[in-house]
Symmetry: C2
């Protein structure tokens, strides 16, 4: 066990635990029970204990899981302990809001560079980052070992941004719009869909 390739379900749940654990640590709590994790994730507590116990004995009976240790253990299982560099596409309101937030930093991601097509924005600073022109993307990806692209541009421009990232060698893309993105096999594109989530919640609310 341990060295086997994880199933998609298990990897997805472990990532989810990791995200919640990071928030728990941020809130100053050092121990968490499977019950509490279940409350935040919506995943059954038995499922959580089973997921974790298949990799080792991380918990203390009667107490719960040590947050710091569990974070370290899961990161090891997922092979994602390092720092991962991001290229942020778009320096408008959404892009700036993303650059300002801790959301990525808290999980070992680093926004290494920020890009725009608008010449009026290129050269300006957002926090510590200077906005670069998209034509510099390929070089920046190579120089900074960027493996993730985050797209925060108007929906009409999303496909162009995605194409530029793919052309530059980026294979993991997070798209903040709900525009559909065409991408070649081997490339992962995750698009936001708040409306989809809301319609789903609405069904159970109205029923």
């Amino acid at each position: 066990m341990g060295s086997k390739r994880l199933s998609h379900g298990v990897a997805a749940r472990l990532s989810r635990y990791l995200q919640i654990l990071a928030q728990t640590r941020k809130a100053g709590r050092s121990v968490i029970s499977s019950q509490a994790l279940s409350g935040y994730s919506g995943i059954n507590s038995t499922q959580i204990r089973r997921d974790l116990s298949s990799f080792g004995r991380f918990g203390k009976r009667g107490v719960g899981y040590n947050v710091d240790n569990l974070i370290a253990s899961i990161k090891e299982i997922l092979h994602t302990s390092g720092r991962h560099n991001i290229a942020l596409m778009g320096s408008g309101k959404l892009g700036s809001a993303i650059a300002d937030s801790d959301m990525f930093m808290d999980h070992g991601f680093h926004i290494a560079a920020m890009f725009d097509v608008d010449p009026a924005r290129v050269g300006k600073y957002v926090g510590l980052l200077q906005v670069q022109h998209v034509s510099e993307l390929k070089q920046a990806v190579a120089d900074n070992n960027i493996i993730v692209g985050v797209i925060a541009v108007p929906s009409e421009a999303v496909q162009d941004s995605a194409d530029a990232l793919i052309e530059a060698g980026v294979r993991i893309i997070f798209n903040y719009s709900d525009a559909l993105v065409d991408a070649p096999p081997g490339t992962t594109v995750h698009s936001l869909s708040p409306a989809g989530e809301l319609l789903y919640a609405l069904y159970f609310y109205l029923a």
Copy 2:
């Protein structure tokens, strides 16, 4: 069939189809195959055909599904054909970006009011919406039949916004940060977790 309560899995997948179909329609395509839907959703095409066929015969063999008809049919199945009003919490960069986008409008949601705690922002206009003080939330929820809250405030303030929404009677919340939110049973809170999604994608990329 048809009138039975949907399982969570089915409702989630139908919402996902709906989101993709709306984008497909926007792109001007009038027909889509289960194969194409599968490509965009990551859901197996047999699963898609099975989900749909359990409610009726929506497709044409050899052709695919009519996009407009399928949207209407799924909305009917989900009982979410109407217009649904949203209260948007936060008028900063993120809030403004959300107010400017079509993401909610495209799916029958309407941002009916926008709130902030900062007196300097209250009264200003973002597009056609005038920013109101949070103290007016409860009244606005009642007046405008608001059933969904979208939170776009700094992570330290997320819980306060959620509390205000819940106090005002809102039971469905979409949180644009990855801060954990405590909410009473009966309330649905969906929080964004881009980092979680990325770690998941990263595992399969690195493996």
